[in-house]
Amino acid sequence: MSDYSFNPTATRRVAIIGGNRIPFARSNTVYAHDSNQDLLVAALQGLVDRYNLHGQRLGEFAAGAVIKHSRDFNLARESLLSTTLSPDTPAYDVQQACGTGLEAALLVANKIALGQIDVGIAGGADTTSDAPIGINESLRHTLLAANRAKGMGDKLKALLKVRPSMLFKPLLPRNGEPRTGLSMGEHCEAMAQRWQIKRLAQDELTLTSHQRLDAAYKRGFFDDLISPHRGLARDNNLRADASLEKLAGLAPAYDRQNGTLTAGNSTPLTDGASVVLLASEEWAAANGWPVLAYLRTGETAAVNFVDGSEGLLMAPAYAVPRMLKREGLSFADFDFFEIHEAFAAQVLCTLKAWEDADYCRERLGLEAPLGPIDRAKMNVNGGSLGCGHPFAATGGRQLAALAKIIHENGGGRGLISICAAGGLGITAIVEK
């Protein structure tokens, strides 16, 4: 007989109770002096206030940031200690590039589903205003060598290798894929050329994102999803007066001659944070909170972009059909689609891929194309192009908003899809 005793009971449904985020701010604007922790605390405290969680010990808080200082090794735990949640609530950090927020939610959800915890919070924060600047690599190696050296003489000898030039060449965070040296915009530009995505189509998608986000603000959709921060009440990337003419006037940002990606149809560097409250149905009922929707499942995928055989941001194209097959669903079963808009071109490449019979057969192993997505159902309250994209905060933003859309709709099913650096993609299904 084996002494293996892990015997999980049937899984439980995971309820999305609500979410909270701070308005997203373009890099080096309103939140220029906020750290990741400041932003995460603001979002988390707003959620605690809204759902009256003061002093409560929750199952866990999972969150992360993509651009992180080494001192933020315990970002989630440190943030939690600055809120009015019970300090007895455990926390841990998650990091999966732009998939961080949604991956954190899946981790918490899976524990709830397995009965290990009853309630938890998932989230993420990112600031590129307060980015880490490292000391020069040569200086760092020299200092480490001095640290290893035994005795004052050897230490001094090691330190003699410090050169003044080392002090003026710090290590800056790079906006590029480590294995290709190309920026994400350059990768996406290549995808746009491969899929022949027109500039106009990108600008139209961008305009829709701004217009729908503006409309959502105007009808009060975000009133119970956002807590103002530093005097900012709505995302400052939002251009209510955006127009196709203005967008058409922008110069290509990554390929000056033949490019179609601009500062308008690409998301800017953004600061912000978001969190989502997840619980079992029992916990929701016991605490008197309605269930907005259920987080049914998730799927991650990765593609080999290093040798150029697939586009950097195409992994969601693979994750979605795998998830649909596993769950026995098709696009016709969905009422809403929340597709993260890193670049308008990346969304359009993915949509085109799902309609392309050859691609679906050869790359995705599907007998028939996945089919088109009704744009009226996609990003109905705007997307990242409108509100901006603080990397780790996007998943939480989408999850809370989609749950609320489904709740307002009186039920339905929605799909979330996020592309991420490193050829990663993460997707999820939300329904009620």
Partner: protein, 296 residues
């Protein structure tokens, strides 16, 4: 051609090579038909040191899981190349020789700790439109078997009526559809760093002043660095058994700077590639990298 084998042991020091290089800056014009040197320079037992391979790998961007870089044994033979080029019997001044092209063939997997016998000799004349070219052969034997070989083509410009077989770059590459797949940012001290791992301290690579003396506005990257970087970018993990790399050196890469790798995505174990400036309108290297996929 009958060669006179000369065993080189121990290898020459860096100072010795630089002095020989300086002495070979000028040479009297050969009377009548130039002749290829008859020496075959041999190092009987050169060990592939893991630490040296790692340092070379770091300089070119190889990852440890890629095994011994295909271009690495070239480094071990560099001193022999320079000795041959600076010999009194070599018909032209060493500093005027332009490294035009290189072909590398590996017949067996190389391992750290392995001991190789290296042989370097002038193999043949090549008639190039721009002057007289000649090929220097490098052969590496392990336990008596040829495991790795390289042919380096050097050009002496402006020699009229060159002799030998006509030049054929052999790289009829499909330029259409090449895509920019990588960006390489090259620091100002790249030449100095690579010199320390490859032994080539030619001042055109290691200092601005040195480069200016020889007519370049800035220091230029080693051609063999560019080849190493390109192989590192495309070599699969797990090491190579049989493989080939061909490259033609085009415009020099000035340091500091940035260049890009252009190739055909996902074309399996046969990679046609170019290294160009980032905009893609100036070629620095054109190459072909082929490997035999090992049976798993």
């Amino acid at each position: 051609m009958d060669y006179v084998t000369q065993i080189i042991d121990p290898p020459p020091s860096r100072t010795r090579l630089l002095l020989d290089g300086a002495r070979a800056l000028r040479k009297p014009k050969p009377d009548g038909m130039p002749a290829l040197p008859k020496e075959r320079l041999v190092r009987p037992a050169v060990e592939l040191h893991a630490a040296d391979i790692a340092a070379y790998g770091r300089a070119c961007g190889f990852r440890p899981e890629q095994g011994v870089p295909l271009s690495y044994p070239h480094v071990l033979a560099f001193a022999l190349h320079l000795m041959l080029l600076t010999r009194p019997s070599f018909p032209y001044p060493a500093s005027g020789m332009v490294h035009l092209a290189n072909r590398i063939r590996q017949h067996q997997r190389l391992q750290a700790g392995q001991v190789l016998r290296l042989e370097v000799y002038c193999a043949r004349w090549v008639a190039h439109p721009k002057g007289q070219a000649l090929s220097i052969a490098t052969r590496a034997y392990g336990a008596g078997a040829l495991v790795w070989e390289s042919d380096s083509l050097y050009l002496r410009r402006d020699v009229k009526d060159p002799i030998g077989e006509p030049w054929d770059d052999g790289l009829a590459l499909q330029e259409d559809g090449l895509l920019r797949t990588q960006r390489w940012v090259l620091p100002a001290d790249l030449g100095r760093r690579f010199a320390h791992v490859c032994g080539d301290f030619n001042p055109i690579h290691t200092s601005v002043i040195g480069a200016k003396i020889f007519g370049f506005r800035r220091a230029i990257a080693h051609g063999m660095w560019t080849l190493g970087r390109a192989l590192a970018a495309q070599q699969p993990p797990g090491g190579l058994d049989q493989a080939e790399a061909h490259c033609d050196f085009k415009l020099p890469i000035f340091l500091p700077g940035q260049v890009a790798l252009w190739n055909h995505p996902s074309c399996g174990p046969r990679r046609e590639f170019e290294v160009r400036n980032f905009a893609g309108d100036k070629p620095h290297m054109r190459g072909l990298f082929i490997w035999k996929e090992s049976v798993k």
